[in-house]
Amino acid sequence: MTETQDPYAAFADARDTTEGKVFTVTGQDWDSVVSGLGDEPEERIVVNMGPQHPSTHGVLRLILEIEGENVTEARCGIGYLHTGIEKNMEFRNWTQGVTFCTRMDYLAPFYNETAYCLAIERLLGIEDQIPEKANVMRVLLMELNRISSHLVCIATGGMEIGALTVMTIGFREREMTLDLFELITGLRMNHAFIRPGGVAQDLPAGALDKIREYITWMNKHLPEYAELCNANPIFKARLQDVGYLDLTGCMALGISGPPLRAAGYGLDLRKSQPYCGYETYDFDVPTWDTADSYGRFRVRLQEMWESLKIVEQCADRLAKMEGEPVMVADKKIGWPSQLAVGNDGMGNSLDHIKHIMGESMEALIHHFKLVTEGFRVPAGQAYVAIESPRGELGVHLVSDGGTKPYRAHFRDPSFANLQAMPILCEGSQVADVIVAVASLDPVMGGVDR
């Protein structure tokens, strides 16, 4: 009979490795660690933070080497949320790809959708045929999304340093934003609303009134964040000079978005390489000069005001656009997504069914061909980058002339910005790691895809 070994019998068993003597500490075993270290102990503790730690923003694993409370080395372990979205997109048609990519950076779904659709439209050569109303709706949704995304960043960032009120009010305002998303797209997340050629649906009745109510609400409640945080000594003590990364570091590491703008450089693709008609809106690019977590917070706070300004301008434009088309006129591209609420709930629009079944043979053929086969995109590649709440979101699309993407690659800003984690954290205290990571605002759905 073989002797079975209790794996928990010998706590803190010492092992000799190339790095020296290593103990795996499980708790309540400090005596054996101390005695095992001998007379001249070398104290080097490697702490594994995450992947399930609540303040690592999803399933992010931080590997910290600490000396007392000080972090001497830090590394990221990612990939825990890798779901193979890019690979999956190669097996669905171009329009279905929207449903996949919206799930990448789940706090900024409209940005994923827009970037992907803009790349398809460039390959199709229909960039200048997108109806004006579709562009305004895209801008509206993206800017609302910037507000909701920044709110989550500020709210969870506040919660992690103990500012619970910032969290509760942050999610309160985010809820108002998601209500608007639900009204306009039908869903709070994972909308798949922005489609190649335009958007899926026209603005529903009463949406403009709701948007105006929302603007009034935000004008009343957005100042609360500044009042709670901007001059709050505890908040400032936790954020100021934490996670410092200057412009040189940002450029070397390819950092974009609020961390770059907090370092004083106002790079914003909405201004430098406008898309969706951003050049026609009046807004500013806020910057800050401290290059620390506090600066990033202030930049985000100010960006929400700028986004609200754009939302207001969109609402004014949409008020004059009633009944205009929201999908490209080319019937061989525009997905037949006409829906209507009937007696038995949401379903295909009866008008559309009447049109294809009773009035137009061509409409029926287009509907059938699009839904079964999809449209073909000329072979080639395109790279489109837009300014997401976290920085440059780039889409590299390769088409082989077929009905599906040959390759879709997303350059997610969370992924690129997270590379700065070690330089932000090394030399600081463990508690500052939380603040520094939160100031980058990584969303693991986007990092791992």
């Binding site: 990939g79 190669e90 450029m251 590649q381 395109a382 790279y383």
Partner: protein, 235 residues
Amino acid sequence: MSDHQPENLPATTPGGDARTPAAEVVDQREGMFGVRGTGDTSGFGGLRRQVALPGGSAKPYGGWFDGATEKLDSLVGDGAIEKVVVAHGELTLHVARERLVEVAQHIRDDADLRFEFCSGVSGVHYPNETGRELHAVYHLLSITHNRRIRLEVSCPDTDPHIPSIVSVYPANDWHERETWDFFGIVFDGHPALTRIQMPDDWPGHPQRKDYPLGGIDVEYKGAVIPPPDTRRSYN
């Protein structure tokens, strides 16, 4: 058959002007719906479709493309830039892989080029492009001049090595690890080329075209739906 334009392809394919790139065939597709080894009664089995990507463009390229490529040519000399492709208003430079680091260094440091921001690298697998199966595609942004450029480097599947440009663009660290992870391209000179998304002991490189998507049959009331990569589909 190759000059046949599928009827649902929008009529926006570039016309016959001088700058239209000559197409470069990278693949040949046969049949439709992915039907294999069964009696074809539909007639679709006879379809032949060439996959032709935009090929090399002739000068002038238009806009700032001419000045930038001439400047780069004068800096790196012959043999570094194999081909220049202008399509969809984007400039692609195909770079010889042994000259990549040199090209990247010049493209970053020269005041007239100054592509200081690297948006990372993305891999593409063309299994039927013999000798050039694996492509690494770099997207660069010049904030100074507000321009974008694409560098494309290829390597054969049998020798999947491309020099790392992390020494020039530190931002490319994780991107190269990701491309190694998904495509198996070895970036020589990378400080720590390890898997980043897949587990360390994962076999294979998932984004390659010969790597299956996976998935299982789903049965519902007797009917079986195969996983997406084995379903019939248009090709």
